[in-house]
Each structure stands twice: as C-alpha cells, then as structure tokens.
Assembly symmetry: C2
Amino acid sequence: MGRVDYYDDPAAPAPNSLVPAASAIVVDEAGRILLHRRRDNEMWALPGGRMEVGESLAECVAREVREETGLKVEPVSIVGTYTDPKHVFAYDDGEVRQEFSICFLCRFVGGSLTVSEESHEVRFVEPDELDDLPMVDSIRLRITDYLSGRTPVIR
Amino acid sequence: MGRVDYYDDPAAPAPNSLVPAASAIVVDEAGRILLHRRRDNEMWALPGGRMEVGESLAECVAREVREETGLKVEPVSIVGTYTDPKHVFAYDDGEVRQEFSICFLCRFVGGSLTVSEESHEVRFVEPDELDDLPMVDSIRLRITDYLSGRTPVIR
C-alpha cells in the first residue's frame, strides 16, 4: 500500500486516524544506527510500527524490530514521544493517520540482520552517513534527539 | 457510562480496543499529588484521558488536566509508559479497552481547582494518605513509580 508523508505542510489532508505505534533506536558496538529502507515510500526509517490489541508497547517494539530487521531486542529507555498532529501519513485507502510513535532505545538480545518484505535493505548506518540518506523529517528528528543525548523528549 | 476495571484477572474479557491516552502527575509545593474521584467507577485517579485527533500528547494531557481539575499545566518529563494488555476497562457498550497511557510529570502553570462533571471531588493528596484511598491498581502503580524516583519506566 502506498503512503505519502506530510510534515507541517499546508497542503496536507486533515488527519482522521490515531493509532498507537512504537519505533526503535538500535545501536551497534560501533555506534551505528539500525535503519531499513521501506518499500512503501522508499525512505530510510527506524524500525517500528503499529501496536496490536493484546500486546504491550514493549512487546510491540520488539516484534516490529524482529519482523523488519531479524534482530531480537528489548527496550531499555525512552527516546521520546512523537505525536505531532502536523505530521500525517496519507494512505491509498483514504486513511490520514497522524503521527503517534513512542521511540525506545533498545538493546540487542539476539538474531541476525534479515530483510523483510517491507524493506529493500536493512543495515547499521554510520551517523556521518545519515545526512545523505532520504528520510522523512519525523524519523530524522528521532535520530537527532537520540544523538543529542538529551532524552526523553516530549513532542 | 459505567466502567469496570480488571487487572490481571482471569475473568476479564478480552480487549477489543486500543486508544492512546495520557495521564498526569501534578505535585504541589508540599509534595502532595493531584487526584480526583471519578464518577464512573468511584475510584480516586490521576487526571488524564484519551487523545483526540488533531492534538499532540502534550496538548492532550494539558487539556485533560484542565477539564478534570481546572488547573493549567504543561508536561515536563515522562513518568512512564503504561500499556499492560492484562489491564482492561470494560464499558457498558461492549468496548473492552486495554490500558494505554503515557504518564507525564506536569508543572503548574495557572488556574484553580474546580470539580468537573466527571468527578465528585478533586484535591491534592498527601502521599501518606494514598494507601487509604480506593484506587485501581494501574493508577496506584503510576504514583508508586513516580514516588520511587526511578523514572521513566516502560510498562
């Protein structure tokens, strides 16, 4: 399903949907950050996704990272709350979902990197390389917040 | 509308709804905690409630505190994420909502204490008095986490 992201854009459609989700910062021993390139919008992103009924937010973020990257992780701290109603995702079916993601710093527990059907590529990225990768503003903000060391943030 | 809370209870109905919400710890200069006694379940609770499309989570918690207590506040830090699928609220209309609340420590900005239609009473409560007040487990846990000083927690 295609998706278009709008960030503080007067041309954006009004949101009509609010869905809790979680995202993950996973860092390797060299300080590189785990990213994948999404098939739905071709952008590089943190792993994450919507929460399902019956799971906790910690279980959600661990499941999404495992599904999208093959790695087993567990959340250890909160990077921030990302709930800007001016950031919306418009889907093909008419849903206009406003951003709602709680971003967690996660530690590696096991598994190995695997590309899923949702991604073209998954790898750990050097912080120096981030500026050159296509990425939506809201994902870049979470990484910048993490790298600032001043977390958790409320957004 | 009536509401029954279940916490880790084998007799609880399965959740069928997931709604993002925020709750607030507001503390006065004497270290007392802002609580209100809810009309829907007769329990003492932190102010808070569900997020609306078009607002951020920070706007949600400020709005809920203002509506339920008359005080104007703003969130300054995160107490924790409270998303235990074993804690559910069963409403009269068949909705069984699982817990999803991000709890914020908030600072006082203005206003004065006012009881809303949702509450019988609203006041700042001494920590010593908390054990004697009827309160659902999940609310008590947020207060205990706050008082522990080891926040934010991921639950």
